[in-house]
Symmetry: C2
Subunit: 418 residues, 2 copies
């Protein structure tokens, strides 16, 4: 990996050798999250427009020459990435923008964008000789780690808070992960995972800690750019929990800009739920993050103490983007819209991205001439309970031919006119 | 579509013009399911090895020149197909075969192989000028039709038996389908759908009726062949409900054989649940199908009166294949194995394919030198309740560092040794 230069601390700026294996800055401690810094001159020699024309790999690993993992076993990995970017057929007009692209990351192997981070995590662990890998999470990070670890033959240890809903454990059971159910809340689970990781020398997949997670997640931005022939949209809209995903989105476009493959970084719009909006508040108050409650049904972005604040706030600031909030009602409405108008079933946190785009357009944050890309981060099948209880049930028509005739006559003409 | 020659009735053999729009044989009635017959001489001029080398489309639509739809709007469709074919890393050795390939069709847009049929159905409907499309189903066919219709802007009418579990309606609600909940069982739902389709002139997506559904489903076989560089496996194993999917698998390989792209059709192994095995019994008794009970947790293959018997029985017979049955316990075991050993979470009917492969190997039906491909037809997230109640919960470790140390010491060495 000669294209990797070194690591730099996002807090103090200190530089560390690329051969170092500590995941955060020893000087700043746990909050000293590192950036992977590339040697773009070297990278440029391998990665240009011709590289993409000739590359036949159709997964996130087509971007290996832009990543911080050797990828010797990439061919054995789950088929993560290269997800569809849909050109909206009806919705662009309905929400009144020039172009609306929908990046459906819910079709990843375990059903969410988190696969991009977990896939690089297991390769990185394997590369460094680990057989065990751990993280603390109750949601998509956990299930994606469990699935990706199972595929590569690594053992996954997942730390979850005791109150974790049993449904969330189903994928973990299917993938054969080992689960440590911790008394207390997410913070307690995180702390025990940290202690155990240190004690047992396991590989640490916590996205808040491990700089390679952003390097995996950035592939979603690389794909959006390439799928649009490097003519990037004006805005990219994504929902935000701990801040790692939006950090990855920025990093992907940043890399492409350094390589001269795109002319500008799209303005990045970070979307949070009204009931859990630490980044929105922090951005409004000079960047200071204050712990907040987690009052939203979009559980994947219900993060009261985000652990990747620097990268998230930087993504919006440096791209001249925006922060917006959406209500749970707007999220549910967006789930319906995305399903019924485009055929994409999104989990609440994923539909929040679309809700944010709609809100930003309505508030004039996004103008009508804009081309926007919305990232759908997870599959609706991940959270069937919310869909079942919050979405209106399907329209029911009378189960009798005559009644059906009368009904269709009175509502609208449902007879096909060939 | 000059490569389409005509339609032929699978019962009486009568030929019909390719411009005809009746979906079954007028002489034989509803049971006179049609085959789409191609002009392989014409097809061969367009489709050869060079075609695949140069084709950049990565979805089922790369096979449009082998299909019975013009595909003018294929570019607007959901991104169905071109799903991963995994080379098993550990399982081949464990079940003692030379090679085991796993075709993961659960990552299709609505989570199942049925998307291949629904995608062609909505294109075909659109091509023929329909704005409405209907089917009767409570499961994957229904949700895939709802999603694919939503994407193309068609209205979907889904006929379900009254007792359909509410969870199964969630995807229908998300995709905005209109649901007709029919008093009685599946047969009653099917009959009302038939009457309504005739009355209102809607497009009919019932797989048992519509010959194009098999033409969509065959793309799974085309992909398996191409992903193995046309060096096809010795066996292809797939679970069987109404018989349409296995019919499609056979048809795909049959086409490739006619085109000279493969040298033989793999032996096709049809898997049914012990508690619902009409095809297994029919094959053993000269082909006569007798209605049976539906006693299996693998709901997607719990079909007591399969409506596509001819094509299913032909697939196994003509390929010199086999029928096997598996118990529900074997299905659950296969779900665990597939998840924990390969990182693929399958719904029960999908895991039944692997269970069948294991059973067939153990019984000596498949020999140890064989290369086999197993089709995983649907995502485990489709049926979380079965996974939750039937899979053993994840292994729980003690939530305390000292206890964890003691536990790991006593069980096995979980410390990484770098």
């Amino acid at each position: 990996m000669e294209h990797v230069s070194h690591y730099a601390c996002t807090l103090c700026g200190a530089a560390y050798e690329k051969t170092s294996t500590h995941l955060t800055c020893p000087a700043c401690g746990e909050k000293g999250i590192l950036d992977v810094i590339y040697d773009y001159d070297t990278m440029r020699k391998q990665v240009d427009a011709a590289y993409f024309d000739s590359c036949t790999e159709r997964s996130m690993w087509r971007y290996l020459p832009l990543m911080s993992v050797s990828g010797d076993r990439a061919g054995e990995s789950l088929a993560v990435g290269w997800t569809p970017l849909y050109d909206s057929l009806r919705l662009a007009g309905e929400i009144d923008v020039a172009k609306l692209y929908l990046k459906d990351d819910g079709v990843n192997p375990t059903g969410s964008l988190k696969d991009r981070a977990s896939a690089i995590a297991v390769l990185k662990a394997d590369e460094e000789g680990h057989r065990n890998i751990a993280c603390s999470s109750t949601g998509n990070a956990a299930s994606s780690l469990a699935g990706n670890a199972a595929r590569l033959g690594l053992e996954a240890f997942i730390f979850v808070p005791e109150r974790a809903p049993s449904g969330k454990l189903t994928q973990l059971a299917a993938y054969g992960a080992e689960v440590i159910s911790v008394e207390g809340d997410y913070k307690d689970a995180f702390n025990l995972s940290k202690a155990a990781i240190e004690t047992f020398g396991w590989y640490n997949r916590n996205a808040a800690i491990n700089p390679h997670m952003v390097e995996g997640k950035k592939t979603v931005a690389l794909e959006i750019a390439e799928q649009l022939a490097f003519d990037v949209p004006d805005y990219v809209v994504v929902s935000v929990g701990d801040g790692c995903t939006i950090g990855g989105v920025y990093k992907g476009f940043y890399d492409l800009l350094q390589l001269g493959l795109i002319e500008r970084i799209p303005r990045i719009v970070g979307v949070q739920a009204e009931g859990c909006r630490p980044f929105v508040d922090a951005a409004a108050c000079g960047g200071e993050l204050i712990e907040c409650e987690e009052r939203t049904l979009a559980d994947s972005i219900a993060v009261g103490i985000p652990r990747n604040p620097k990268k998230a706030l930087r993504a919006v600031r440096e791209s001249d983007g925006e922060w917006v909030t959406v209500t749970d009602e707007e999220i549910i409405q967006a789930m319906q819209t995305l399903g019924a108008r485009e055929g994409i079933f999104a989990e609440p946190a994923a539909a929040a991205s679309l809700a944010g785009a709609i809100r930003a357009r309505r508030d004039g944050v996004i103008d009508k001439a804009a081309r926007i890309a919305v990232i759908v981060t997870g599959n609706g099948l991940k959270d069937p309970d919310t869909a079942k209880t919050k979405l209106p049930p399907p329209t029911k028509l009378p189960p009798d031919l005559d009644a059906l005739k009368a009904h269709l006559k009175h509502t609208h003409d449902k007879e096909d006119t060939e």
